[in-house]
Symmetry: C2
Subunit: 225 residues, 2 copies
């Protein structure tokens, strides 16, 4: 459980409370949503006083902002890795970008929720804003490259980006949010996600007409509510 990085001095008060808070907060979000995160609750869980978190986060919003920032970083990393593995075709890369985002949302709902929670979106946090901009830039660049490679050449580039974000976020929410569990219930999330992504970024479909798809052997959880 304690795979911490730099030989934590557990002798002192706590060690690295900041990281512990973020970790625990992510757990809490995964279990009960962003609403379930309370500074005092985290403090209790970590056996520190109720005011200890304040030394690391000015208020609840700051903690959520840090969490969202981490979420953007992770998701961006996943998206870049996905695009890299997808090869050179810009359209395939862009599809992989989106697919990686959806996968990230499914595998780490906590960070996805942190990113997309309205309470977090309204925060004015410089560091968070900066990461968000980078995230958005990656998407925009991917969309532009894909368009130049022939993806919806006639469309307004801004609409393409909006469409992509809308689709990707919507698809991700479909699987990561409690909200849709009953709607998509009973489906294999991986296959469904692939199909939805195909509808967003028309795959070069050289292989099969959907159903002989077998890229989907990772996991099938999160389908039955």
């Amino acid at each position: 459980m304690y795979a911490s990085t730099t030989l934590v001095l557990m002798s002192y008060h706590h060690g690295n409370l900041r990281e512990a808070l973020l970790r625990r907060a992510a757990q809490v979000i995964a279990e009960g949503g962003v609403e379930a995160v309370s500074l005092r609750g985290l403090a209790r869980d970590l056996d520190v006083s109720h005011a200890a978190p304040r030394r690391h986060f000015a208020d609840r919003g700051a903690l959520l902002a840090a969490l969202a920032q981490e979420g953007f970083r992770r998701s961006l990393e996943a998206m870049e890795n996905g695009a890299r593995e997808a090869g050179d075709d810009p359209i395939a890369r862009y599809r992989a970008l989106g697919r990686s985002y959806v996968r990230f949302a499914c595998e780490d709902p906590a960070y996805f929720r942190a990113i997309n929670h309205p309470e977090v979106s309204n925060l004015a946090d410089d560091a968070l804003g900066e990461v968000k901009q980078r995230w958005f830039a990656a998407l925009r660049e991917g969309a532009e490259a894909a368009q130049q490679a022939g993806w919806h050449p006639e469309a307004d580039p801004r609409a393409l980006v909006a469409f992509s974000i809308a689709g990707a976020n919507g698809a991700a929410a479909l699987f990561a949010d409690e909200r849709w569990h009953d709607v998509v219930g009973g489906c294999d999330a991986e296959t469904l996600a692939d199909d939805v992504l195909d509808l967003i970024v028309h795959k070069s479909r050289t292989s099969a007409p959907r159903s002989t798809k077998k890229t989907t052997s990772r996991r099938k959880g999160r389908s039955a509510s």
Copy 2:
């Protein structure tokens, strides 16, 4: 301001507190988001005691659920009207369905937020669940009809519905959420929404290749942040 239905007896304690609470709550959401809604705050705004709302809503969640229910009703009504006006072509009707939803989200962000707030999504409210099911059914039926009319005939119907919901909700969020104001800032929301909808439900494009579009003379607000 008091266009109430059944001759309210203002002599008594308040009249129809329930409706007043819902109305005021919608205002508060529009101004400060769902988080800003507090039972006591509403009670203060309406000059009743802090426990009065409890006579009409068991708890905060019940009020939000009622609000979301109203939101689903309104949005469904808007969508059905939009589809009706769109004529007979199932694809055009489906596009109008989505377009109406996005327009609803832009014009009445309060209800859109109430519908989509994670805190509300997790509520177990029977009436709300029932309306949500009807909303979803309308979308599914529209998607099925559109598919039979030639929209993505090769796709998995479930993926089509998921794609539609994802796209519509994502697009709506793009315009109704604070979150994306900086991203879509500077664009004309109506045109952008039309373009995004075109990307979701490929319009029968008999008119022009995008830009001579002039269906968009309603309003242009909500583009500059």
